[in-house]
């Protein structure tokens, strides 16, 4: 077997194992939460009998291990159970929310990843001169401000004062494509500002590291322009670390979006999760946790595989 296939297969298997371990943690974590679902559903009107009946109905009396496997096999078949609070199918309502979150993350990524890499390349080209310092200063400032504050600041200036964008990012199926884009513009800007610095700095550091190597000197001595040297000779050898940090940030765009969604009242996963955590709706919390874990592990796996594929020694063995 080609060594690359073996390595990729290894990564896939490891990721599956990791996801399984994450599912155990998520399940165990929600088990040790204080409080009782049946109690919180029934609230004031709870009597010992109605509590017992509801527990029986929800399957809360079965042993934890049985419930875990029931949950896991259900999840594998796409059945995440029903929400305790409103009795709706979780997979269905989650699907819509996840779609919205991915829509937001997708546009934030489309803008931030190329921008971060381009800024990184420019920073390397003008290392220690004013463009480099300006780029670092701006991106580091934006990462240092809490995202909810950036969110409210943008809302105040761009939505309230100038009226360019709506202050609340509501979207629904009736809206046209461009209407949707206009609606999510503010959260996309906030997310971009949050992830830009990390990716830009890593691109800069990875390429500068490669710029020290003898083959970059060879390229310079061929009379190539600085930008050609960076683009043709340094960048291809810096891909692995860059992809790693890009994937980490993409994962953040999906998983860490909670605050931004709440600020802009965006109907995504984050909102959904926050709503149901406050209602102690355990199956929903578990389902959200599982999806976040899968996104996180999946993207990091892709980063690993890209790093393997980017290595010419592995791609073309002797």
């Amino acid at each position: 077997m080609h060594p690359i296939l073996k390595l990729v297969a290894q990564r896939l298997a490891l990721s599956a194992l990791l996801l399984l371990a994450a599912s155990v943690l998520i399940f165990a974590g929600t088990m040790i939460l204080p409080g009782d679902v049946a109690q919180s559903i029934l609230g004031q009107s709870a009597t010992p009998e109605s509590l017992a009946n509801l527990r029986e109905e929800l399957g809360l009396n079965e042993p934890a291990v049985t419930r875990y496997f029931n949950w896991l096999f259900g999840a594998l078949q796409g059945d995440l159970g029903t929400a305790l609070t409103n009795g709706r199918d979780i997979a269905e309502s989650l699907g819509e929310r996840l779609g919205n979150t991915l829509f937001l993350a997708f546009w934030a990524a489309i803008i931030s990843v190329p921008l971060a890499i381009l800024l990184g390349l420019i920073a390397v080209r003008y290392k220690d001169r004013w463009p480099d310092k300006l780029i670092s200063a701006v991106t580091l400032t934006s990462i240092s401000i809490p995202e909810f504050l950036i969110g409210y600041l943008l809302m105040f200036f761009l939505a309230v004062q100038l009226g360019w964008f709506p202050s609340i990012a509501m979207i629904n199926d009736d809206m046209g494509f461009f209407e949707k884009l206009r609606s999510i513009a503010l959260p996309v800007i906030v997310l971009t500002l949050v992830v830009l610095a990390h990716m830009m700095r890593m691109t800069r550091a990875a390429i500068l590291n490669v710029m020290q190597s003898a083959y970059v000197e060879t390229a310079e001595l061929k009379g190539l322009s600085t930008f050609m040297v960076i683009y043709r000779h340094a960048f291809p050898n810096a891909i692995a670390p860059i992809v790693n940090v890009v994937m980490l940030n993409l994962a953040y765009l999906v998983v860490g979006v909670v605050v931004v969604e709440v600020v802009f009242v965006y109907p995504g996963m984050g909102q959904y999760l926050v709503d149901h955590v406050s209602k102690r709706d355990v199956p929903v919390v578990q389902a959200c946790g599982l999806i976040f874990a899968a996104v996180y592990i999946g993207l990091n796996m892709i980063a690993d595989i890209v790093a393997i594929l980017a290595n010419p020694r592995l791609r073309h063995p002797k």
Partner: protein, 545 residues
């Protein structure tokens, strides 16, 4: 236009240095060097490290490595001063008129790109050829330089060809755009001697065929004597002597040049073996974890007290692996090691402190074998504490004795490794191993990273210490001149096997086996025309091709 291609006048080059604990300041590293190079001629620049020879070579491309800046003088290429020309013109010069071959082709090729893409890049970029023409020319050059399968080797990635082959590819890269001048910066230094000869011949023929001029930079006078028309000897940024190759080799005027021509003046009388051996390596077969072949096959050697056994061979011959087996870092698959009359545990963990003390090691890179944050006194004192439990004044007295033995003296006791020269660092490593009062020291390429004159000093020191301390050396090296200088017996290794083994006089006296013949004949000799003679008489190809 006159025939002068490169005219350098009063070239001064400076650099900014950042010494620890001091303010950064500018120093001058080349102090006004002048020379001329005509079209189609080869000028050899020779000197030890720090002589400024690479810096001068790169200055002919208006390039300064790291923080190096050209601070004065003129560099005329094709009738214009390139220190005063525009940036765009410098780009045309680099890779178009002047090209560069570096010491380590392995590091100078981009690992992520095919060889062909890199070889034709400059020619296409400077619009000398179309991509198609350039590739045809590259294939022609591959064939001329003796590369195997010249039509397809360009489709490979750098890690898929050997070091010697890659060095030839780098030469093809430099010749592809039909430059007027090629700067060869130690192009064969990193290669084994038997490979060096082939690459050297290929370079020499390519220079003759294409009519290109060359600056040939090296520290090895014997090598430069084979390829250059003129030689300039440099020392610490100054010209020592500048003349024709014939004059420099056969009639050197300056003392420094004379010293370079006559290095390896060490004479060492071969000692007779004693009845008892200090080290017996008996039928060692070894392989690394994860490999499915043996790297050592049934190796048997003996080392007698107070004597030197030289293990000589090329990279990949298994000589360093043998050292790893003897030190216990790599337990062998088969065979035994007897040391000082007792059987050694194959694994390091099974060895007593006494075993460790009596068997010391000195490494090639003295830099990385010392903790940069410890003083010389601490470094040498550590084995004294560890093996002899010495403390305080007693320890200090012994450290000073050792410092005297290695000819450095007490004033070095509080210095840090960074404050020492390469030769001084290696001396400290020798003192550290001697501090344990060993019966035997494994010396792994201990002079390979040093300039010839400095290496000579280290070898003399080792021989003197052997007389005083009665210590045996297992001397691992690829350098036959070193072997001749210091050994009592020699083991020649080839592809994991002993090719020849015996006393120095036996091994170095004909008739030779084919491999030993190849190895011995490949050592560059300091006379003109040696390269052609030896290539004409070879029986065997080197394994590194």
């Amino acid at each position: 236009m006159s025939d002068t291609l490169l005219k350098v006048r009063d070239l001064k080059i400076g650099a900014t240095v950042y010494p620890p604990g001091e303010k950064p300041h500018d120093i001058e590293i080349v102090h006004g060097v002048s020379f001329d190079l005509e079209r189609g001629k080869v000028l050899g620049l020779i000197g030890e490290s720090g002589a400024g020879k690479s810096t001068i070579g790169l200055a002919s491309m208006a390039y300064g490595r790291g923080g190096v800046k050209i601070t004065g003088g003129e560099v005329w290429v094709n009738g214009r001063d390139i220190l005063k020309t525009s940036l765009g013109d410098i780009r045309n010069l680099r890779g178009g008129e002047v090209t560069y071959v570096s010491q380590s082709a392995a590091a100078s090729f981009n690992p992520a790109k095919k060889i062909m893409d890199q070889v034709v890049e400059a020619a296409v970029e400077h619009k000398k050829f179309s991509r198609k023409e350039a590739e045809a020319r590259a294939r022609e050059l591959f064939a001329k330089l003796g590369l195997p399968d010249p039509d397809n080797i360009g489709e490979r990635y750098p890690h898929q060809v050997s070091g010697g082959q890659l060095q030839r590819c780098m030469t093809a890269l430099a010749l592809c755009p039909e430059p007027d001048l090629v700067v060869f910066d130690e192009p064969t230094t990193a290669l084994d001697v038997t490979t060096q000869i082939d690459v050297l011949m290929a370079i020499k023929e390519a220079i003759a065929d294409t009519g290109v001029a060359a600056l040939y930079i090296t520290h090895d006078l014997a090598v430069v004597a084979q390829v250059s028309d003129d030689i300039m000897v440099l020392r610490m940024g100054n010209t020592v002597e500048y003349g024709t190759t014939d004059q420099i080799i056969n009639n050197p005027q300056e003392d420094y040049t004379k010293a370079l021509v006559s290095v390896r003046s060490i004479e060492h009388e071969e000692k007779q073996p004693t009845p008892e051996a200090v080290l017996t390596v008996d039928g060692i077969t070894a392989r690394y974890k994860g490999l499915n072949f043996d790297v050592l096959h049934n190796v048997n050697v003996e080392l007698h007290p107070g004597q030197t056994l030289a293990i000589v061979g090329e990279s990949g011959s298994g000589k360093s692996t043998l050292a790893r087996v003897i030190t216990g870092l790599l337990p062998p698959r088969d065979g035994e090691i007897t040391f000082a009359g007792r059987k050694l545990s194959p694994d390091l963990k099974g060895r007593s402190r006494e075993d460790l003390r009596e068997l010391q090691m000195i490494y090639q890179m003295a830099d990385v074998a010392m903790n940069p944050r410890q003083t010389v006194g601490t470094i040498i004192g550590r084995p004294l504490e560890f093996y002899f439990n010495m403390r305080g004044a007693e320890k200090r007295k012994r450290i000073v004795e050792l410092l005297d033995e290695i000819e450095l003296g007490e004033k070095f006791i509080d210095r840090y490794p960074a404050e020492l020269s390469g030769g001084q660092k290696q001396r400290v490593c020798i003192a550290r191993s001697l501090a344990a009062k060993p019966k035997m020291i494994i010396c792994d390429e201990v002079t390979s990273a040093l300039d010839p004159l400095v290496a000579d000093g280290i070898l003399k020191l080792l021989l003197d210490l052997q007389k005083i301390e009665d210590v045996a050396y297992l001397f691992i090296t690829h350098d036959l001149a070193t072997v001749r200088a210091i050994s009592d017996s020699i083991a020649v290794m080839y592809q994991g096997r002993l090719a020849r083994y015996g006393s120095k006089s036996e091994v170095l006296t004909p008739p030779f086996d084919d491999y030993t013949d190849l190895l011995l004949s490949s050592v560059p000799e300091m006379h003109l025309g040696w390269l052609e003679e030896v290539v004409a008489h070879r029986k065997m190809e080197s394994a590194g091709n």
